[in-house]
């Protein structure tokens, strides 16, 4: 799969599509254009990195609807909305629905390109975090239930003695478990282990 990020442009006006592709490619980014939201949904395979540039007003599925569809499918592709003059209300709605930014026609090219860059950065960060989370989750899978308990108590800030008392085993056993946990989780330090625990606990952390 192509891991190089792309800019997906969805606009019903062909001139707009071509011109946007021309402009965005000028800063060396890969651009894929689609004539309608439906066309984009059909072509897009989830997990592909990049950001989405979409016109609010389109025949058929509008930009806002497309945004909603992506959110529903839990595809966290950053979305930049293009609005016409005076479509402030539309822009506001798009932002509320989680769009990264909105760009008014006719464009200021700096603003547009800046927004695209921010979108790609956001996408890259999200993807890294996602990757790490799946990685840690995979490591967590290897832990035995007792090791899970030990890990939960360790990341909670408990000392070996406290853990031994809580689990009803000897401090030595705890020490052994803890070593195994560090090993399996490939944690360099206790701080590292705590970070992993926080990361899998939730995306907010």
């Amino acid at each position: 799969m192509n891991r190089e990020p792309s800019v997906f442009v969805v606009d019903d006006d062909e001139a707009m599509r071509t011109s946007l592709k021309w402009l965005i490619e000028s800063i060396g980014l890969r651009v894929l254009t689609f004539g309608s939201a439906e066309e984009f949904l059909a072509a897009y395979c989830p997990g592909r990195p990049g950001c989405l540039l979409v016109d609010v007003r389109m025949p058929g599925m509008s930009g806002l609807e497309l945004q909603a569809r992506l959110a529903k499918a839990e595809l966290c592709l950053p979305v930049i909305v293009i609005t016409g003059h005076g479509d402030v209300a539309m822009a506001v709605r798009a932002m509320k629905a989680g769009a990264l930014d909105f760009i008014e026609k006719p464009f200021n090219d700096e603003a547009l390109l800046g927004a695209i860059r921010r979108g790609l950065d956001r996408d890259a960060t999200q993807r890294r975090q996602q990757l790490r989370r799946t990685d840690i989750a995979a490591r967590l899978e290897q832990l035995t239930p007792r090791e899970h308990e030990v890990m939960a108590l360790v990341t909670d800030g408990k000392s070996n003695k406290e853990i031994a008392a809580a689990l009803g085993v000897s401090a030595k056993t705890v020490e052994a478990h803890r070593a195994r946990v560090m090993d399996k989780m490939q944690a360099d330090s206790l701080a590292d282990l705590v970070r992993m625990a926080l990361l899998v606990a939730g995306p907010d952390a």
């Binding site: 001139a15 402009l23 965005i24 000028s26 209300a89 539309m90 006719p106 464009f107």
Partner: protein
């Protein structure tokens, strides 16, 4: 029989006597009767008692006399003993020695009392004896005291001497001396050694004095005593010698006296047959009897008198009481029955009068009773005949059954219906053969209910419907009415059965007909006078819900007025109403003879909506047409310009970035440039089209009524106004306001303003949405004011309000107001807005009016 003859006679006799007199008479008669009876019985009884009493008394008296006599004698004997043993006598005799054979001279004391005689007699109230003698041991008389001076009879001396020789010697003794009895008592005189010194003898003549003293006479008048010889029956001595001279025979006294004799003992008399005899004169006995009789007579009289008084009083009181009761009765009878009161005069016998009256009264009552019973019988016969006729002629089956359900009687209809025959089926059970088996419990229940109702004093007639069995076994629906009859023999029930086959069919028919109304898809209602809803079919439910009433309630007031109006006119009215978003056409059809109004409703919502929509479409079409001439198309095109311009900018920017970087490839750059050219041409094409559109068209002007235009515009938005529930208030200047305008353009302006107002109200609560449209006119200008109470316009927005492409709406182009201003400018008019944020917005449109003269001419036409 005899009483019949006696009674009138008695009545005639008693009639004139007043009641008190009769009472007294009866009292007297009773008293006399008592008297007579007592006289007979009591007199005889009393004389018998008196005689017996007399005899007893006499025998008692005589015995008492005898006892007194004996005691008297005994007291003499005691005195003799006393004297014989007295000291004086002993002193006298002590010195004397009487030798038996020596001659001696009897010493006689005649005048003086001998010294040896103690004074004892007076002390015992005994008469001194006539003679007291001292005898020596041989019985020779030595000394004698003649107390009464009478010589001692020789006979007595002999007898004494003889007597004293008797072995028992000294006992009292009656001795006859010359026919007169003497009491002789002797006693031995002894000295201190017990040697006899002589004998002391007392001799007392038993004469009248003796007897008198002996008897100490109690009733000398009535009782006399005498001693009588037993053999000769002659009196020897008596207490009263003058009345009863001695020597007379008892026989001679029997006539005058009652005589009782008791013999004295032989020892006392010394063989002399003497009787102590008591004489009670007849006269005294008679007197006593007379006394008794008198006493008894008085008693009897008193008794009779008491009887008279008591009877008189009782009878008088009873009669008076009776009298009062009867008077009251007669008064009552007089009032109640009109029977004349008997004349109660004083001095007549009211009881008898009343008796007569009561007889009359009784006869009258009897007569009345006979009359009544005759009348009753007559009526009974008539009623019976009538009843029989009713029974015979009744179209209902009538069957009478007894308490056990057996037929007692039935009428011909019942015979026909149930195949009964009076001569055959009387006494047969009814229910089993004539009531359908399924309804038997119901039938029994109705009977029981009727019986119970009668027992509890309620209306006992019960009704019910059940299936009866005809004689051929088919069932027949009947209405059954049960009337229980309570008679002495028990309870009977009369069953009235009405064949309701036809009625049920008719009911079914009517019900099925009624269903037509109920099943109608259109509302059908019936309203009685005063607006009371009596029927509503199923389809009228939405109407009822909207009115908030149910069957039985009153309709809302204005509909009541409508109903009343229909009833008054007698004509069918049609009204339209909008209820809960539905439009109904209601046809009020009065039925005056029944006081009903039928309401036939039709839901014409769809029709009205179609009409409305057609109008709306038409209006929108007009609107679009008008806008497309100018604004709408211009706006759209202006928007379109954005596309090529943006594309041009993108191509240009992309090209310049490439050129700034080192990515200089001529081919793509040339293509981009070509694109720029294409897009620029596209833009110029759009602009050309726009210009052609905006290019001014020659103005069309005509005189038009501003009020009419406002109304027209209102009708365009009517549907939306209703949909949003907006209160649209029109306040028009009177008459017509003539303005010289392009009608279409001005309407477009107004429509645009009204639509803006509608849009401004979209976010307001439905109940608060208000729009007011006012027209005003001055001599020069006409003004339209469109006011909404929406959120208002911010001052910052206010400035840009009439700029092109400025809009606050999602779907707005921002061209409405600029175009409106352009149009107004063309018409030498003005348009402006006033707004207070939060309170609403008012748009003002001012147009010059056509000169007054022209206007008046116009309005005149």
């Amino acid at each position: 029989m005899k009483t019949f003859t006696v009674k009138p006679f008695l009545f005639r006799l008693l009639r004139p006597l007043p009641m008190p007199v009769i009472a007294i008479l009866i009292g007297l008669l009773t008293g006399l009767a008592v008297w007579a009876v007592l006289d007979q019985v009591q007199g005889r009884m009393i004389s018998k008692i008196a005689n017996r009493e007399l005899k007893t008394q006499l025998s008692l008296r005589s015995r008492e006399g005898l006892i007194r006599f004996d005691r008297y004698v005994a007291s003499y004997a005691a005195t003799t003993r006393l004297l014989a043993n007295h000291r004086r006598l002993a002193e006298h005799l002590d010195p004397i020695v009487w030798l038996p054979n020596e001659p001696f001279e009897t010493r006689l004391y005649r005048d003086a009392k001998p010294a040896w005689l103690a004074d004892s007699f007076a002390r015992y109230e005994l008469p001194t004896p006539s003679h007291i003698l001292l005898l020596d041991g041989t019985g020779a008389l030595r000394e004698v005291y003649e107390s009464r001076g009478q010589p001692l009879p020789g006979e007595l001396t002999d007898k004494i001497r003889r007597q004293l020789t008797w072995p028992d010697g000294m006992r009292p003794l009656l001795v006859a001396v010359g026919g007169l009895p003497y009491l002789v008592i002797g006693d031995l005189i002894e000295d201190s050694e017990g040697f006899p010194m002589g004998t002391l003898v007392l001799a007392v003549p038993v004469d009248a004095d003796f007897l008198t003293a002996a008897q100490q006479v109690i009733w000398p008048e009535r009782v006399l005593v005498a001693l009588v010889t037993g053999s000769t029956q002659r009196i020897v001595t008596s207490v009263d010698p003058e009345t009863l001279p001695p020597g007379t025979h008892l026989k001679t006294w029997r006539r005058d006296y009652l005589i009782t004799s008791q013999p004295l003992s032989q020892q006392e008399t010394g063989g002399w047959d003497l009787h102590f005899t008591t004489f009670v004169s007849h006269a005294s006995v008679d007197r006593m009897a007379r006394h008794m009789r008198t006493f008894e007579w008085r008693q009897r009289g008193l008794t009779a008198l008491i009887f008279i008084l008591v009877f008189t009083a009782v009878i008088y009181l009873v009669s008076a009481r009776l009298n009062r009761i009867l008077k009251r009765m007669s008064r009552f009878a007089h009032r109640a029955l009109g029977i004349a009161q008997p004349g109660f005069q004083r001095g007549n016998n009211q009881l008898l009068l009343l008796e007569d009256w009561i007889q009359q009264f009784t006869q009258l009552v009897l007569k009345a009773r006979q009359e009544l019973s005759r009348h009753y019988e007559h009526e009974m016969r008539e009623t019976e005949a009538l009843k029989a006729a009713i029974m015979e002629a009744s179209l209902d089956s009538i069957v009478t059954i007894d308490g056990r359900g057996r037929i007692v009687d039935c009428n011909p209809t019942a015979e026909r219906a149930f195949g009964l025959r009076r001569d055959r089926d009387i006494g047969q059970p009814f229910a089993v053969r004539s009531v359908a088996a399924s309804d038997l419990p119901l039938f029994d229940g109705l009977l029981a209910e009727s019986h119970r109702a009668q027992r509890e004093g309620r209306e006992p007639h019960v009704r019910g419907e059940l299936a009866a069995l005809r004689h051929d076994g088919t069932t027949m629906p009947v209405e059954l009415s049960i009337v229980p009859i309570e008679v002495d023999d028990g309870t009977f029930y009369t069953l009235y059965m009405h064949d309701i086959t036809e009625r049920l069919e008719a009911e079914r028919e009517i019900k099925s007909l009624a269903r037509i109304a109920n099943e109608s898809p259109n509302p059908i209602l019936r309203v009685a006078e005063a607006g009371r809803l009596v029927f509503a079919n199923r389809a009228s439910r939405p109407l009822l819900e909207a009115w908030g009433c149910a069957v039985g309630d009153r309709l809302p007031a204005d509909w009541v007025a409508e109903v009343d109006q229909a009833l008054v006119d007698g004509e069918t009215h049609e009204r339209e109403t909008v209820l809960a978003g539905q439009v109904y056409a209601l046809l009020f059809t009065p039925i005056r003879e029944l006081g009903y109004v039928n309401i036939y409703g039709r839901d014409i919502t769809a029709v009205r909506r179609a009409e409305q929509e057609a109008r709306q479409h038409q209006a929108e079409l007009v609107h679009v047409c008008r806008l497309s001439t100018l604004g709408e198309v211009a706006t759209g095109m202006a928007h379109e310009l954005n596309q090529p311009l943006s594309a041009i900018a993108n191509f240009a920017n992309g090209a310049s970035r490439r050129l700034q970087g080192d990515l200089i490839e001529p081919q793509p750059l040339i293509q981009a440039m070509g694109q720029i050219t294409t897009q620029a041409e596209r833009a110029s094409e759009i602009i050309r089209r726009l210009r052609a559109l905006v290019a001014k068209q020659p103005p069309i002007r005509s005189a038009a009524d501003l009020n009419a235009m406002v109304r027209e515009v209102c009708s365009f938005v009517e549907f939306d106004v209703e949909r949003l529930g907006i209160a649209l208030h029109l306040e028009m200047a009177p008459g017509r306001i003539l303005v010289n305008v392009d009608l279409v353009q001005i309407e477009q302006v107004l429509l645009n303003l009204v639509r803006n107002a509608l849009d401004a109200l979209a976010d307001m609560p439905a109940a608060e949405r208000r729009i007011a449209i006012r027209t005003r006119v001055t001599p020069d200008e006409a003004e339209v004011e469109i006011e909404d109470n929406g959120p208002g316009i911010e001052p910052t927005q206010m400035r840009r309000l009439f700029e092109p492409f400025y809009t606050t709406k999602d779907s707005g182009m921002g061209m409405g107001l600029p175009i409106s201003r352009t149009i107004l400018d063309d018409h030498d008019g003005r348009i402006w807005a006033e707004s207070q944020p939060g309170a609403g917005t008012t748009f003002h449109v001012v147009l010059p009016v056509i000169a007054t003269a022209e206007r008046t001419t116009d309005s005149a036409t």
